[in-house]
Symmetry: C2
Subunit: 376 residues, 2 copies
């Protein structure tokens, strides 16, 4: 059964399956086309108006869809356009960074309705301290949003197993095999999903900024990671750990890395390396005089990304995090390095991530509502 | 309709579709289980014995399947085991190397039935000269095999577009935008399929040596390439050019490469680089005293493969071509380098390609018979 087609026949329990399938189909049409009339949904799905009306009633009763008020004075029967319910089920997002924690709530449409961040040193303290801090901040933000939050998505700066366990995070040596999903579920009283920060940042680009079907999104920060999107889907690799761009070797004899390797991209173009290189006290200072950081990061990123282009054949590079803040000069430096490294691929483009896309934090929260929309 | 399940219902032209589907299903069971009885096929497919018998008759009439002679003296009704017809439709394989051409014919079971190679300098001569040479050698090998060859598959040392055109081959500067498929089809009078040598070498590992579902196969020669297999399928990337391991940067300030880049793996660990490094006259001489070549290639391969492990997350590396001939000491050197570069993935294994798998040439020929088996 393809998910894009309506299903009409069925009996007994099969009929229930059919109804669930069509419910999801109608909800997807409303999500993608809102505001849209029942007639519009019927036309696009191929379902009868009667079926659509019945399914829409169910979606309204479940709080997933609302009818917009129709302007008075329209002639004929009002069309009552439908849209996703902004007061319906919502998602909580949590991002555990190296030295901060971010929290947000998104509504069913993926719009951020409340958001806060706070300093929180996860390098030296026990994971439990950081998790307590995250849960406390989350409670505040959930209260502020005033929406029925149904679950949480968490972005983590490390390797996340398919079982929801943070296996390791090179920049957080104390966070080894931490069951972040279970730990936060217990603190929040909500079901919790976890994902890698770089993967979720790439997903944000795809979901909220109309990203192209094939690209690599590079997250620059204390850690450097990448999310690879192929065919409009996150490419996670056989073990779920693909896209570890920060540990691609750029200088085989370079400085030792927290991963145990040497000369990794992160050691040359990560936030700490660039601060050290320029003597800037913090990122704000770095951005006031970014010339040298841009040149050095541009070259290192170009070398590492030449590997991505050669191995995975992506046509688009999106620079995010600190790299987006370094802006067009960095994109130009990376482009120049890529051109000289892979002259056979002049079509590869490098662009900056759209800050409004919301990054990994928003995508983490959106995991919750996107799942709800897929299975109403 | 999943391809793994029998389909029973249907009427009119739908019935024909069902029959074709079940024909392919029965043929696949015979190919995978040969020798196998009709009853065995019925049991494994869930089709009735009557249906299986009827389909088998059609496969026998088409020359795809034969009955094995049954030993006399068995009691009861003989089971007449079935197998693929070794005299049935066959495939021609052609491999255009940098300085040689190889040709083989495989039967329906993928077994090589005739094979030859010849020196043929494709670096300095016009492509047409090489294509003539390949076609002439192919005619000899086809005559020797004495099988009904239905088509040809061609392995090429460069970038092959989805349209069958060799776009470029870094080591064959005269071969730019050559429609190898059309050129050889005209010379051979056969339909022709083309593919990248490294991709086909990986396919050989998968098809003929029971390769694991996820691995990268590295082809060492004058050119260095890789075929990446994920989930039992060749991973070609959005543009069909994934796996260009030879041009991953290993030494950013290293020697200029034929690709226009600098310090690519091929410049450090390709056949020419290793001959130059050791002063050996040819590969045979190199293999008599391989110590220095093994150390240098092992380090360079380890650095480049650290990128593959980090970006694509493959758990297995298979070394082929010249690298397989350098043997276990090279595998050990690559393993040691990978361990130091990516200490977080101690499970990654490095092994040698099985020469009996037959490599890219056999896989190219097998393209033909595998297609025939999928669509009987």
């Amino acid at each position: 059964m393809t998910t894009g087609e309506p299903v009409r026949r069925g009996a007994g329990s099969a009929q229930q399956t059919v109804r669930r399938h069509n419910l999801a189909l109608v909800l997807r049409e409303i999500a993608e086309g809102e505001p849209v009339s029942r007639a519009g949904v019927a036309q696009r799905t191929g379902l009868t108006r009667g079926t659509v009306s019945s399914l829409v009633e169910e979606l309204i009763a479940d709080g997933l869809v609302t009818e917009l008020a129709v302007a008075r004075g329209t002639t004929g029967r009002p069309a009552s356009p439908l849209q996703l319910n902004r007061s319906g089920p919502a998602g909580l997002g949590i991002e555990i960074g190296v030295d901060e924690v971010g929290v947000c709530v998104v509504d069913l449409s993926g719009t951020v309705r409340a958001q806060r961040s706070a300093a929180s040193d996860h390098r030296t303290r026990e994971p439990a301290v950081g998790l307590d801090r995250a849960a406390a901040l989350a409670a505040e933000v959930v209260a502020e949003a005033g929406l029925p939050v149904e679950g949480a998505g968490v972005a983590l700066p490390g390797v996340v197993g398919r079982d929801g366990v943070l296996q390791r995070a090179p920049n957080l040596p104390r966070w080894v095999d931490v069951a972040v999903d279970a730990e936060l579920a217990a603190r929040l009283g909500l079901p919790v999903d976890v994902g890698n920060e770089a993967d979720l940042a790439a997903a944000a680009e795809l979901w909220f900024d109309g990203g192209p079907p094939d690209f690599v999104h590079v997250s620059g920060g204390i850690g450097v990671g990448a999310g690879i999107v192929l065919g409009g889907e996150l490419f996670r690799g056989p073990g779920g750990r693909a896209g570890e761009l920060g540990h691609v070797v750029v200088d085989p004899d370079g400085p030792a890395c927290s991963c145990g390797g040497r000369g990794c991209l992160e050691q040359l173009a990560g936030q700490r390396a660039l601060l050290e290189l320029t003597g800037a006290r913090d990122v704000e200072a770095l951005l006031r005089d970014p010339g040298r950081a841009t040149a050095v990061a541009g070259r290192a990123l170009g070398v590492a990304l030449a590997g991505v282009v050669n191995l995975v054949d992506v046509p688009t590079v999106v620079l995010g995090g600190l790299y987006a803040r370094l802006g067009e000069p960095l994109a130009a430096a990376v482009t120049a390095e890529l051109r000289s490294r892979v002259p056979s691929r002049p079509e590869v483009t490098v662009r900056l991530s759209e800050p409004d896309a919301g990054g990994a934090l928003r995508a983490a929260a959106a995991l919750v509502v996107r799942r709800r929309l897929r299975r109403p």
